[in-house]
Amino acid sequence: MDFLLQPLTLVTFFPLLGVVVLLFIKEEQKNALRWTALVTSTLTFAVSLWVLTKFDAANPTLQLVARYDWITVAGWNIQYYLGVDGLSILLLLLTAFLTPLSILSTWTAVQERVRDFMMFFLLLEVGMSGVFLAQDLFLFYIFWEFTLVPMYFLIGIWGGPRRIYAAIKFFLYTMAGSILMLLAILWLGIYGGTFSVPDLVARGNIPAGVQMWLFIAFAAAFAIKVPMWPLHSWLPDAHVEAPTAGSVILAGVLLKMGTYGFLRFNIPLFPQAALEAAPWIALLATIGIIYGAAVSYAQPDVKKLVAFSSVSHLGFVMLGLFALNPEGVSGAILQMINHGLSTGALFLLVGMIYEQTHTREISVYGGLWKVTPVFGAIMLIISLSSMGLPGLNGFVGEFTILLGAFGSQAIGNSIYAVVSALGVIMAAIYILFMFQRMFLGPQGKVVEDAKQHGRGIRDLNWREIATMVPILIFVFWIGLYPKPFFDLMGPAVENLLGTLQTAAIAMR
């Protein structure tokens, strides 16, 4: 019992309870299935808030640790080891926050095989929480690979017309990266005699020549997941074909697993390699920012536009992380949350209109705001948040990141920050251009058609508004008063960079 009542164990595995309940509900009782999933994930969110109340922000180390021997025979030293610190607490909360909202968005969108859908969704939540909490490399790898399976089914069964292609592409791309990480994990396990990340970090001392290889092996897994340019080509396919809720989780949480991986493993485990690689990663991140923005602008499909904008936004996160100074890293962590909120919300909104019109062509829309004022207003706020308007969440993150990147010793050249700043302007262009074509101007073909058929396009209903309001609260909260969020991560970031400082001195 002691094992199960650990807060972190509970928050990770609570959704399994819902999976078990779902098994006993008949397929025909669709609403019962939906309610079960919604209640389970909301309770999981409540548990995550309970974790937050027990979390001490001033403490830079791992907290609420659940640590048990798991496989400690035959020369193995694998532990069941969960812990949370300032680097991961926000991502855990984001996961628990977005899951019930995504489930709420499927209420009418998913009509086929509802039970399977909800089961995969809850299993996915287990995997994601586990990724953010695992402190043992073996355990981490299990959670990391496990997230692939439910997501693969979500895309492949409930996705769009090219869903099977997209699902397999998603699976193989991600797995291609993680198999190299597997070998690096095994090497570390043999070298350090343990798979525990804090122990390996404390032990340090990995020969400089090997560090770079291990760094690359881990980076292969994470860079594909982020995705960093030029490894991003699975993302548009997966996003466009995935059902709305799948896209929300994909953009909101799964991509963060990549950036989080850099933060949790690459930087502290291989500090010297991280310092050496920083300029190169900054270069790739900058290319990604500009490339993602430019390609977004050219998209005729609004979902693809949002998908490519993720490439651009995640470029900012990578740039901030590898600035390797407090501003850059905390900005990057906050931007992970921001991107989860704004892009998640964008996918939700796109899904809401798609459910009615069954098209995502930007050009057939137009003049939507007049027909659907609430939808238009929320879309505008989220769009502005996504492009980084001061006063909303996106600005705080991007500004801090650019500040960090500008003065970064590790990157060593402020040109990346300058070029990346152009990305902010480009984001304003592609997002406003999209908004203008869809919501302003004369009423487009879809709106006219709907009117002629006598049904018109309806505005958001209460369920849809209820899905968006929690996100909007955070959009304003982080935009206007980000201090509590920075406070949560501050000490842990300082601690992480302290490790790096020691390594930098050793390098000279």
Partner: protein, 480 residues
């Protein structure tokens, strides 16, 4: 022959004796009720399993050092007997349904099983050869059991011809080793090879033995028979053959190479490296283009022989060879369990006249029988090596040994081919879950029980693998 000699091979003796008795008993069982024979055979296997487990922990040489009872043999024999039970369970309904029900089926299976068990205990090349023939000959007959179906007859004949061919290699290898060392006992070879003045002869002999056993475990380039035989043989025979023959072949390889040939380790490492790499690459690449589930699983079985072969590569390196052989044993367990489960699903979908075996026939299975599709998904994930299944833990263990041995490129080939394999295993999952179709599924108590229990074990043991890890590593402690 003393009583302690008999004690060393007690489970084997009981099983063989019971098989002979059963051959007679079967005459008195009416034609319509041959299922009784299956249960009698299973009872014999259970008794042998109980005796094996009772003997666990004891270390006894027997028959003047020709056989040995040790932890290694106990581990392998327990696994073999378990495979025998699963093989019987899969066959029980199938042979009835396909009109193949004859009492000899079960006795032949027992004889083959006895050969496999002897293989695990043999410490003399002659006994190994004897065991090889004892396990093979009943399998040749079983492969052709669905006569007059042409495919089955072809499978039997092909398996027989190539089996005889490989036995020839084996015998020639044994002769050369005898020529080089003057003995066929593994300990004797070890003692003689350190002072031998004919290392070339010894190396060639060892290589020929490797070829002979390579045929049995279906390593590339000695795999040509596998797809045809696996496809043509009755499906439960294929399942038994894929697991049992592989376990027996590998246990002989492990013992021969680890205890007799460490002195030529350096030279052999490169050969085994190439063999493992080639097997993984070819098996996985050819599997991509298969459209028949039996052929797909046949190539998958070849590919897995490659993974297990990786465990041999560090042999001769005293530091890691114990770990790597334990990893090989663990992988054999994980492969055997997953393999039986997957074949169980194939049997559930197979219909008369060989219908229901195309991959397309799996379309829509998730709608019709969600539980069966879920089981198949677990097996496919396990064969890829993804959590939460035994396959992942097995690969983790195996790759760790390979990396500890310093064979980074082999490890990279291993993981890259795993990635390739994900493509074709996922195709099965795609068909089951993402395409529409109307598969017809047979439901039989024993079959369903086998499939479900192997699926549960595949997941459960992957979450709590420590006891099995411990057993596997204890099994190899005294081997060197």
């Amino acid at each position: 022959m003393t009583s302690s000699d008999l004690l060393t091979i007690l489970p084997l003796t009981v099983l063989t004796g019971w098989a002979c008795v059963l051959l007679l008993l079967d005459l008195f069982i009416p034609r319509a009720r041959k299922g009784v024979t299956a249960f009698l055979a299973a009872a014999g296997v259970l008794v042998a399993l109980a005796l094996t487990l009772l003997q666990s922990g004891s270390e006894l040489p027997g028959f003047g050092g020709m056989v040995v009872l040790d932890r290694f043999s106990t581990f392998v024999q327990a696994l073999l007997l378990l495979s025998g039970l699963l093989g019987l369970a899969l066959a029980y309904g199938y042979v009835k349904r396909m009109g193949l029900e004859r009492g000899e089926y079960y006795t032949l299976l027992l004889f083959s099983l006895a050969g496999m068990m002897l293989m695990a205990q043999a410490t003399d090349l002659i006994v190994i050869f004897l065991a090889l023939e004892l396990l093979s000959i009943p399998l040749y007959v079983l492969a052709a059991f669905a006569r007059p179906k042409v495919e089955s007859e072809e499978a039997g004949l092909k398996y027989f011809l190539l089996g005889a061919f490989s036995a020839g290699f084996m015998v020639y290898g044994i002769a050369l080793v005898f020529g080089a060392t003057g003995t066929t006992s593994l300990n004797g070879i070890l003692a003689a090879s350190s002072s031998s003045d004919a290392p070339v002869l010894l190396t060639i002999g060892a290589a020929l033995i490797l070829v002979g056993l390579g045929f049995k475990v279906a390593a590339v380039p000695f795999h040509m028979w596998t797809p045809d035989v696996y496809q043509g043989a009755p499906t439960p025979v294929t399942a038994f053959m894929a697991a049992g023959a592989k376990i027996a072949g590998f246990s002989a390889l492990l013992r021969v190479f680890a205890s007799a040939f460490p002195s030529i380790g350096d030279g052999m490492t490169d050969v085994l490296w190439a063999l493992a790499a080639l097997t993984m690459i070819a098996g996985n690449l050819i599997a991509i283009s298969q459209t028949d589930i039996k052929r797909l699983l046949a190539y998958s079985s070849i590919a897995h022989a490659g993974y297990i072969l990786m465990a041999f590569v560090p042999f001769g390196d005293a530091k890691v060879q114990a770990v790597s052989i334990a990893a090989g044993l663990f992988y054999l367990v994980s492969y055997a369990i997953t393999n039986f489960g997957a074949w169980g699903v194939v049997i559930a979908l197979e219909r008369a006249e060989g219908r229901g075996l195309a991959l397309e026939d799996y379309a829509g299975l998730a709608r019709r029988s969600p539980a069966l599709a879920a089981c198949m998904t677990i097996f496919m994930l396990s064969l890829i090596g993804l959590p939460p299944t035994l396959g992942l833990v097995g690969k983790f263990y195996l790759f760790r040994a390979v990396i500890a041995g310093g064979f980074y490129w082999l490890a990279i080939i291993g993981v890259v081919t795993s990635l390739i394999s994900a493509y074709y295993y996922l195709r099965v999952v795609v068909l089951m879950y993402m395409r529409e179709g109307a598969p017809v599924r047979t439901s039989e108590t024993l079959l369903d029980l086998t499939t479900a229990s192997t699926a549960v074990v595949t997941v459960a043991v992957s979450l709590l693998p420590a006891p099995l890890f411990a057993l596997a590593s204890e099994a190899v402690v005294r081997l060197f």
